[in-house]
Each structure stands twice: as C-alpha cells, then as structure tokens.
Symmetry: C2
Subunit: 323 residues, 2 copies
C-alpha cells in the first residue's frame, strides 16, 4: 500500500498477496476465442470469462480479498455494503465462505432475483428507499448497530487489488497481448488492470468502454477531473456509478482511451456474444466488443484481451427480444 496525497493506494505487491489469499475461493476463469468474432473485427480477441466466476462476477475477487484480509476480531463483526448489483452477491459469497455476517443495504425496489441471491449466499438485506439520502442514513445505522467493516464496491484499495488478479491471470493465459479492454462504471476492474499491467506488462494498452448514456468516465477522462452524473440511464446497469478518487488515480494515469457506444450497439454486441462465443453475459459486459466493432482501426491486427465481467442477467428479459 502506498500513500499518495493522503490516498491509500494498492500496489502490485498487494495484488500478489490478494491472489494468494483468494485463490481457494475463486475460479481461474477460462479464456475463450471465436474465429467468427476475429474475422468480424480483424483482431485476435481473447475473452476472459468472469461470467463463469463464483457468484457470476469478477467482483468476487475484490470482495474475497477484503473479507479474507480482515483480522479475526474485525471479521467477527462482519462486513457491510450498499449495492443492488454484483458487489452485493460477491460480498455475501465471500462472507459466507469465511462464515461471518454480511449486511447489504439495498433499495426496496431492487430486483427480487438479486435479493434472493444475496440471501442464498447467507447475506442479510436491510432495505432502504431508492434515494441517496435514505441509503446513506440506513447504511450509517447498520454500521453503528453492527460495527461491520464497510467494503465499498470499488473505491477501496483491497477491492482494487483483488480485481487486479483478473488481468494477472489473463496475462499468464494469453501470450503477447497488445491491449486489454474492459467496461468502466466505477472503475474497479479497470483500476485493477492498470495496477497489474502497468507493472508486469506496461506495453499492453488499456482501453475502457462505456455506454454513451452513462459516459461520465469518458467526460472525466477528457476533462482531466472527475465528473459524476446524477442519474444516468442505460441498459448496462452495472456501469451507472461514477469514478471515485482511487479509481480516478488509476484511470487518469494508465488508461490509453475510453470509447463509448450507443444502447443499440450494446444490445447488438451482447447478442453477438451469445451467438458467436455462446456465453451468457450481462448488458454491462457488452461495451468492449461494441467499442471494438465501432473502432476497428484501433484494434485491427492486435491481440486484445476482452474482460467479460459478469453473467447475472435476467433471462426473461433479453433486450433483443420484444416480450
């Protein structure tokens, strides 16, 4: 851990320690390829399938690193977070593996399937109203009552170090990568890529892909400071959250470019992945392939790692099928 202007940031040593710590609890996910997608893009694409990860998302890496790094005394009090997405499932999974309490503050409007999954992993849900003020008040009460350790979905050095293990595996699994591309929401996965690849393979360019309708990271990147939107609206629901100071540090220092795509391009790339790679993934995973298809000149002839971030999708509402 290094301290930069009062900001505790993870180092690559933290990634190595995280990897050893979480190895018994995560999967070394496979890398898949598709001749058809290579032909279509003119690039060689290597899809790192974190949709096959425990709890169906890469976020289990960061959550496990935070949970298994706690000392016994803190662990007894448990962990807590606010999330209605894959971090909620992942933290519940990690806490369940360690046998400690996990409390998740979730808007009462969150999908029942997500609530069920959190409970299925042994987590406890405390509902709040779907507003920032209610969430913050509810979370403060939970923390006061339980003494639980807060694990932020992405702006946490332990979480970023955990996510850094994904690109470490990818670089081991695929030789000679020229670039890696991942979706960007809060920037946890991209920060992990930056942290790891800037150390072990600094020649690999790092691209982030983002929905046009939630392009706060893109605009932040161009402006040189964090811009947070109030309520972005996109089908890629995992990518609505803004950058924070720690993820901004990595994004602003190590990302080559941020590429955006439309909602239709996201849906098309999602369907194309189902069809050609034959994997089930969330809309939030589709912007990288959409960006590659939209910017062929950037990726043509290159060996590109593409991180598929999660597989928890509502199969009754696939966006290309009109119900």
């Amino acid at each position: 851990m290094k301290d930069l202007d009062g900001l505790d940031l993870p180092t690559f040593e933290d990634v190595i320690a995280a990897h050893a710590r979480i190895a018994p609890h995560i999967r070394r996910t496979p890398v898949l390829v598709s001749e058809a997608l290579n032909a279509l893009t003119g690039a060689e694409l290597f899809f790192k399938c974190e949709n096959f990860q425990e709890a169906g998302a890469f976020k289990v890496r960061g959550a496990c690193n935070a949970v298994f790094g706690l000392d016994d005394e803190q662990a007894k009090l448990g962990v807590a977070t606010h999330s209605s997405g894959n971090h909620a499932l992942s933290l519940s999974y990690a806490a369940g593996r360690r046998g400690i309490p996990c409390t998740v503050v979730m808007p009462r409007t969150a999908p029942q399937a997500k609530k069920d999954a959190v409970i299925g992993y042994g987590g406890r849900i405390v509902e709040c109203e779907p507003s920032t003020s209610s969430r913050e008040a509810t979370f403060a009460r939970v923390q006061e009552e339980t003494g639980a350790e807060f694990v932020h979905p992405y702006n946490d050095p332990r979480v970023i170090a955990g996510q850094g293990t994904c690109s470490r595996e990818l670089a081991e699994q695929v030789e000679g990568l020229d670039a890696v591309i991942a979706p960007i929401g809060g920037g946890g996965m991209i920060s992990g890529c930056c942290l790891t690849l800037s150390t072990i393979a600094p020649h690999i360019k790092i691209y982030a892909a983002e929905p046009e309708q939630a392009d706060d990271a893109y605009r932040s990147f161009k402006a040189g400071h964090i811009i947070a939107d109030d309520a972005p609206d996109t089908i890629a629901d995992g990518l609505k959250v803004p950058l924070k100071d720690r993820t901004w540090h990595f994004v602003s220092n190590h990302v080559t470019d941020i590429l955006t795509c439309s909602e239709q391009e996201i849906i098309d790339a999602m369907k194309l992945t189902f069809k050609r790679l034959r994997v089930v993934m969330e809309p939030s995973c589709a912007p990288p392939l959409a960006a590659i298809l939209k910017n062929p000149e950037v990726f043509r002839g290159k060996r590109v790692g593409v991180i598929i971030t999660g597989g928890n999708v509502d199969l009754d509402r696939l966006p290309w099928i009109k119900g």
Copy 2:
C-alpha cells in the same frame, strides 16, 4: 476397424488415430462446473462444453475425421451429406479446412440461418423438398454428378470414431468420473462414448437422455431392437433421428440406461443451464440435466460428466420467452 456380422465398426485404435488426425482442426473444449447445479442435484456435475467447439457442435469431430481421412484422389471429388442440422455445418467446416468441395442436400424449408452458416464455411447447398423421397432422389443425383464421398451424420464408423474423442478428453480432464450422460438422437455421440469409455474406463456408466416426444431410442433399448418413429415432434430438434445399425450396436451393448423427459423439463433445464452455467446451448443439449433432475437417486453423490453437444440456437426464439 473390426467387422461384426458384416458391420464395419470402429475400435478404440480408430479413436486414437482420429484424435491425432483432427487435433489441428478442433478445440479441446473446457469443462465447466456450477456449485449451484451441484447443490440442486446432489451430484458433482462436469459439463463438457462442445457448444464452444468449432462450428458450435461436437459433430465437427466426426466430420473432420471423415474428411481428413480421405485419400487425395477421393478428397478431390469432395464430400456430401444430407442434413439440416449441425452435421451440415460441421462437414462444411471440415471440407473448408481441407480445401475440398462439400455439398449438402437440405430441405428448402430449412432455417435460413443454417443455410447461411453452411455457405459461410464454404459448403454448397442443393435444396430438396421436405420429404424423404425428394431428399433421397436429390442426394443420389448429387452423388452421381460429383462422385463425392457420402458422410452420414452418425451411422459411419469414421464419424463414430471422431465423436469418441470427446469422452476421451473428458476422462482426461476430470478424474474419477462415475458416469457420463449425453443426449441421444441418432446415437453418434453416445456411440463414441461407449467405444471410448468401454475401453479406457469400463467402470464409468453411460446414460443417454431423450425427449419423451422422440423416445424411439428409449423404446428400442427396452424392446431390444431398433424402433424408428415416423415424424417425432420435439423442441430438441437435433434428437429426432432414429438409431441405425452401427449406433444400435454400441447403445445396446454399453449403455446403462436411457432416461426420458418432457418438453417442459427440457425447457426448464435449458433455462437453468443458461442461468447457472452461463452458457448458450441448444434445446437438444438439455435432456441430460433434465434427466438428472428427474432421477436424483441415480446420480446423487456421483461424479457425472454431462456433454453439452452444441450451441447453435435461435436467440430470437428462446423457448421460455413468449414472443
């Protein structure tokens, strides 16, 4: 190759030779697991993902073995088959890899997507009317005109030997299997499993799974002779074809049991696989999981290999979504 009552049957040596012959042209597909599906079934399931295979189906193994086993003189004249399913794509793929002609006789009513895929791999389509008599007449004409080598979708010793490479990989990838289960249509994959496993791991029980609405293999198995249905109707469209003499030999000698399931059970198991294993597969791949869920006492506590046979599904018409 051994000759049994005038029936040329492949041996395990043919499987070994096939594996060496086709290795440059196929993928060693990964095996995926799901804690959720294990918890649900009480078994340890290991899914061999042939939906990730070249051309999206295990049938590429048999097709490549047939195509690359031809001598140069015969190869020049090309190969031909009749199929509107994965064998058509697979034979076109194999012929394309060798650079020889491939003609596929297909009913004019076959889905355009299948026709496009055959053409995409370099195959030529000759259309016939959707009747057996038209198909046979058309195919005879094609063979006479081209001199092409006929490669049957499953009742061909070269094809059965090729399919036998799949369970050979599975047995290498997963230690201590107690059972293997695969769907049964014409019986090519199951025959390959019988051929390989009866030689290298005869303690592994082999189960076949079949739709109730196309249960000719089940009734054949119980009756002790081949029963062929006229026009079975099931969502598992790859499993409508009947057993033939070579596949019947393997099924009748080496299969432990054939288990059947309803259309709704097939749809439920298909959706469950999308949700929990996060892979895209065809309805024809779902009967094995449906059968395991329906007969838990057979599989509980066992290590079971489940072969997912193909991933060429119409994503606009997923059977659990009412369009």
